[in-house]
């Protein structure tokens, strides 16, 4: 059958098994192969219709790559493929202990500039987040494979928190580094 890009799911498109664990090297290689086929530069002399199609296909390939590379988006997408509507914006965890932990972290970040070595503190926090993210990803994978959907959902909610915290740490680090430069 012909490969219809716009109607392929991201895993089919990148020739990957539908699973949470993805081979990022494969994603990259396949990304390049796809780009060579669909990128608008390959259709600079083509009809408007082909140009439009190429733009849509490339957009789809780009979105697929972004999704497959991101722990949160990939997880959400897997649930979506199972027919579970999961809107990141409307979902929030109710795990009180986890929320408390997040709150404490937020407070620490807010007052980071009062630390004697804020960059070092941020560095430690970033590493902690990386470790717990990895654990959550493994748990998600297990829940997903064994069809424990409610648990999987909860893990995505938490992963989302981790990602936001990580972004915030990055932004703060950048700010402080700028001041030091």
């Amino acid at each position: 059958m012909s490969k219809d890009i716009l109607n392929s799911n991201f895993f089919e498109l990148f020739e990957l098994p539908v699973s949470y664990a993805v081979d990022l090297d494969q994603v990259r290689q396949q990304y390049m192969e796809l780009q060579k086929q669909v990128h608008p530069d390959k259709f600079a002399n083509a009809s408007d219709q082909e140009k439009r199609l190429s733009m849509q296909q490339t957009s789809w390939v780009n979105e697929a790559q972004t999704t497959l590379k991101s722990p949160v988006l990939r997880a959400t997408y897997l649930l979506k493929l199972k027919g579970i509507d999961f809107n990141l914006e409307n979902e929030t965890t109710m795990d009180a202990a986890f929320l408390m932990q997040q709150l404490e972290m937020r407070e620490r970040l807010e007052n980071i500039k009062q630390e004697s070595d804020p960059l070092a503190v941020l560095d430690v926090m970033a590493k902690e987040i990386k470790i717990s993210t990895k654990e959550m990803m493994e748990s998600f994978s297990a829940c997903y494979e064994s069809d424990q959907i409610d648990d999987a959902r909860e893990l995505i909610r938490k992963l989302q928190f981790m990602q936001k915290a990580s972004n915030e740490i990055n932004a703060l680090t950048a700010d402080i580094e700028d001041e030091l430069l």
Binding site: K3, D4, A174
Partner: protein, 632 residues
Amino acid sequence: MALIQIAEPGESTTAHQHRLAVGIDLGTTNSLVASVRSGEVSTLPDSDGNHLLPSIVHYAETDVHVGLSAQQYSVSDPLNTIISVKRLMGHGVEDVSIEDAHYSYVFAESESSVPKIKTRSGDVSAVQVSAEILKTLKKRAIETLGDEFEGAVITVPAYFDDAQRQATKDAAKLANIKVLRLLNEPTAAAVAYGLDTGNEGIIAVYDLGGGTFDISILRLNKGIFEVLATGGNSSLGGDDFDYEISQWIIAQSGITNADEPAVKRLLMQQARIAKESLAEKNSVEISINTDADSWLGTLDREQLTELLTPLVKKTLMSCRRALRDAEVENESINEVVMVGGSTRTLIVREMVAEFFECQPLTSINPDTVVATGAALQADVLVGNKPDDEMLLLDVIPLSLGIETMGGLVEKVIHRNTAIPVAKAQDFTTYKDGQTAMAVHVLQGDRELVTDCRSLARFELRGFPPQVAGAARIRVTFQVDADGLLIVSAREENSGVEASVDVKPSYGLSDNEIENMLRDSMEHAEDDMHARSLREQQVEADRVLEALDSALATDGEQLLSQQELDQIKTVQQVLVDVKNDADIAKIEQSIKQLEKACEDYVARRMNSNIKSAMQGHLIEEYSSDAMSKEEES
């Protein structure tokens, strides 16, 4: 309509003809045009052998001068001699005050959202001034190449936002140049560097020009130039260095008439000369003679370092952010390529070397490398290298978002996302019976609307009244390969659709562009007609050739006899009309043929992708072909 050229070598029905295309570097200080001729890329000189065209436009009593001939008026007739106009591109009336302090323009009161500079030839916008520069380069290219060229790749700073990109495209339209692609300057430089050295791996391109700064981190691999992240500042460059130096001169000399346009220009000019000399010497004498004052002083490297360090630091902050966005460690950078005239300044080289902990590459010509890269891409885009592996994958420099409640911006597409990209976002109504909705599109990475750049506002009207929260309005942001945004919106329950090209807030309206075009074309209407006719005929030939070649390759496999006959009938119509002098008729016939081929094109695209994606086993192909034959 090229119908995907997959003809085998020697099988093509089209004679391989070299198509002319150029790359244009439209710079703040200098502009260049380059082209690939007999396989060699080079920048094109004017009749006196000058390759760099100073980006200066002088409005004289009777005509317009561009380049060196305009430069001589920079100090003597400052108000009619426009320099560094690139810094005004895509800017609104309220954000030009800084530029005014630098360059002494007089802005006209104007109804337009775009600032207009007062000159003796009337009020001109930055787009019009840029178009004059482009026209000069176009003329130069036609003279050197001996014929019209088909199109141009025009470079823009990677950090240019949508309004600035759109303004550049408008300028090209005004100069009657077909834009094949807007290409980011650091990406263009990477192409020239990569093809020249054959090096692969991760590189950083540090591009500091006259008025803009870009940093791009790219991965080079087998002809693919993948931008991992980009950052920068679209109003920071050598001009700001000159301004700092000029302020120092004012403070040292106590010159009293520094506000006069001619004196401002003189100071900037002397500052620039001093800066350039300090790349070679340890200290330089500066002498300023105005009607009111005169001064003689010395500027040394140490003082220059002190003056410029804060500005160079700003560029390094952008570098750090780009590295972070690219998720690349400093150690993984194989090479730092220096581009742009301002990287000749010693302190820039030193601080960049210290930051990246390596000696940056300064051996390539920082002035010409961008135009060279653009010409190389133009050559590929125009179809001269059908088998070429070269592919440029770029990103959007600044996040795109929409205004939400409370003056906040909700990001829809994040910066450094690979383009083209499309994102849909759903909204709903907050009042019962609401039948319209306003969408405010912004670009930038800050949280507040007031800190981001307003790109456009548009309204979606006419959807049926529903209770609050019931409507589902899906807004789609599509960013194309030029980094330009197209927004469309649709109410999902009723299907009401609205589409806007993002242009307004700081752009020229279509009407304004049209009027400018009409003005500039008034006397050249006949030429225009002849040219458009020829263009349409060339296009018709191209479509016909492409279709013949496609049909010869796989027409019988992909089409039923009936479909084939249908296409051939419409094709014959085009063959019949293409030699008439009726442009509209030819255009219409081309469109009809394209329409008739729509399904066929889609099928070819899919089957092409399929075969390319399946790995290239020759056995597979041949057995496939055989089974097809047996069937038929």
